[in-house]
């Protein structure tokens, strides 16, 4: 179990390249981001819900998006620190490898889908399928999450400071889920588990990294009952 997590970025602010998406197009922004090197920073004004903003970051850069982003914002992020000052559309930080993505508003469906690493912080609510098939990312949601979240989650941690919708953690593998509020229902093979000291410790670290001061003791841990891992001999008659 790892407890090290990146913290939310503080912009260095030396030389910031500004893109105004009322004038500049998304491809121009993304091309500049792909050519950037560690330490550079970018500001995106008037995002207007456009899709694929700041996707494919592959350096330690800072990107601040001033407004609401459309689909797949900060997708495939590797090492970047992206802040969205607003809401994010479907699939924010999908397939993130490392770095941080911080959404100050709400996120739509499939936030952090299939992400392998890094930290995704959503201050507001996240819709359905948050953390679907997550493969190592840490996700901290300040509000509530929708149904079918952490579906087939394989690794990583999902922290929810509000409530969780139906079928949480359906067919979950080894990801760990912490929920402070209520869970509408648990998915197949997902169960509530004991909060041991190491879990309180890792949860404190995650909340801290997300800039939150919730008490870890108020959360319940959920994870895999591991009953779907192996073929059950009682089912052999079905074949």
């Amino acid at each position: 179990m790892t407890t090290t997590v990146d913290s939310i970025p503080v912009s260095a602010g030396a030389e910031t390249e500004v893109f105004d998406l009322k004038i500049d197009d998304v491809r121009t922004l993304n091309r500049a981001i792909h050519q950037a090197s560690d330490g550079q920073s970018f500001t995106v004004d008037n995002p207007g819900g456009k899709h694929s903003l700041a996707v494919g970051i592959n350096a330690g850069i800072d990107v601040e998006i001033n407004g609401h982003a459309g689909y797949y914002a900060a997708g495939m992020n590797q090492g970047g620190r992206v802040t969205i000052l607003g809401n994010a559309g479907v699939g924010v930080a999908e397939n993130m490898m490392s770095g941080t993505v911080h959404v100050t508003g709400d996120a739509s469906q499939s936030a952090g889908a299939t992400a392998h690493g890094g930290l995704l912080v959503i201050d507001g609510n996240a819709s359905a399928r948050c953390g679907i098939s997550m493969k190592g990312v840490d996700i901290v949601v300040g509000g509530s999450i929708g149904h079918m979240s952490a579906f087939m989650a394989q690794a990583g941690r999902l922290v929810v400071c509000g409530d969780a919708g139906e079928a949480l953690g359906d067919s979950i593998y080894e990801a760990r889920i912490y929920v402070k509020g209520t869970v509408a229902s648990l998915g197949a093979d997902c169960i509530a588990k004991e909060m041991r000291p190491e879990h309180l410790l890792e949860l404190r670290g995650l909340l801290h990294a997300a800039g939150r001061d919730d008490d870890p003791a108020g959360f319940t841990r959920y994870g895999s009952a591991r009953t779907l891992y192996n073929f059950h001999v009682d089912n052999s008659s079905a074949y």
Partner: protein, 302 residues
């Protein structure tokens, strides 16, 4: 995929700008369905007249001159009732001071084969194939006044790319339905509704949804109950927007695969497939913005 953008204007001062606001919204959902489009606009004094029924017929050229249609209708409508026929883009509008059903009967005889895409006292429905912005342009959307309006850009899946297969579907007075998604059991529901005497214009899945809602409303359901019942009977993926003479409702299927976002201020309520369609609305910076929860019916009345 398909795109939806709908707007209800609470503040009368904004109503003269309905067309320009809806055009801006429509422009942002073109990518979601570029093959055909449809518009429904409520209470536009250039298109509908109070006290009269208006039928929206598909096609700007029905093979008859408007004056000839007028002349045919004169012999079919009660004595003293005058009809008005005008062509707006790819749509022919027929109005008269009789109930919409009676007018529809007369139109069916005067223009056999004409498809009625919209009916009622307050709504006009304009549908066509081609680029959605060109469809809007041909109908002069930009300058239109309106209280409520709905637009739809279609990426056809369940039936052909035709004006008749475009949304909205308007099958009862002032009732319009637009749909993002697909109904998988539409054939069985259509068969059941036909058995109950409901008639259909197309093989389209969304028409089944519209006919089902109209049927439920006829049975005494209010709009909200009709939409809850739709969820029990129709299977598939859907985000739906339904408008009546003075209300608008939004519902998503319980799995919520199809997107929807709502923004609301004191002056208006808007729904779209994506936020980018709402980004230029006046006062959006202070709007309450949220995604409708799956399976829950949201409605607003003027």
């Amino acid at each position: 995929m398909c795109g939806i953008a709908a707007l209800q204007l609470r503040n009368p001062e904004l109503r003269p700008k309905m067309g320009s606001l809806l055009s801006t919204m429509l422009c942002e959902i073109v990518d979601r369905g570029p093959d055909s489009a449809g518009l429904a606009v409520y209470d536009n004094p250039a298109l509908v007249t109070e006290g009269q029924s208006t039928l929206s017929l598909l096609g700007g050229d029905l093979g008859l001159r408007p004056a000839d249609i007028d002349a045919f209708l004169a012999g079919l409508l009660p004595e003293g009732v005058e009809s008005q026929v005008k062509v707006v883009g790819d749509t022919t509008l027929v109005s008269a001071e009789v109930p919409a059903g009676e007018l529809a009967g007369a139109v069916a005889r005067a223009c056999p084969g004409a498809v009625i895409a919209g009916r009622g006292g307050r709504v006009t429905v304009m549908k066509s194939v081609g680029h959605p912005m060109e469809v809007a342009e041909r109908h002069g959307l930009g300058g239109m006044y309106g209280t409520q309006a709905v637009s739809h850009t279609r990426m056809a899946t369940e039936s052909a790319v035709t004006a008749g297969g475009s949304h909205p579907f308007s099958v009862a007075d002032d009732l319009c339905l637009v749909h993002n998604g697909s109904f998988s059991n539409h054939a069985s529901v259509r068969r059941e509704l036909k058995r109950l005497g409901v008639e259909f214009d197309s093989e389209n899945d969304t028409e089944v949804g519209a006919r089902y809602i109209a049927h439920r409303l006829e049975q005494g359901d209010d709009l909200e109950t009709a939409l809850v019942n739709l969820g029990q009977v129709l299977d598939g993926f859907y985000t739906l927007v339904v408008t009546t003479a003075d209300s608008m409702a939004v519902v998503r299927d319980p799995i919520a695969c199809k997107p929807a976002i709502i923004a609301e201020t004191e002056d208006w309520v808007a729904m779209a497939s994506e936020f980018r369609a709402l980004a230029e609305l006046p006062g959006i910076g202070n709007a309450r913005i949220f995604e409708p929860e799956p399976g829950r019916v949201y409605s607003w009345s003027l």
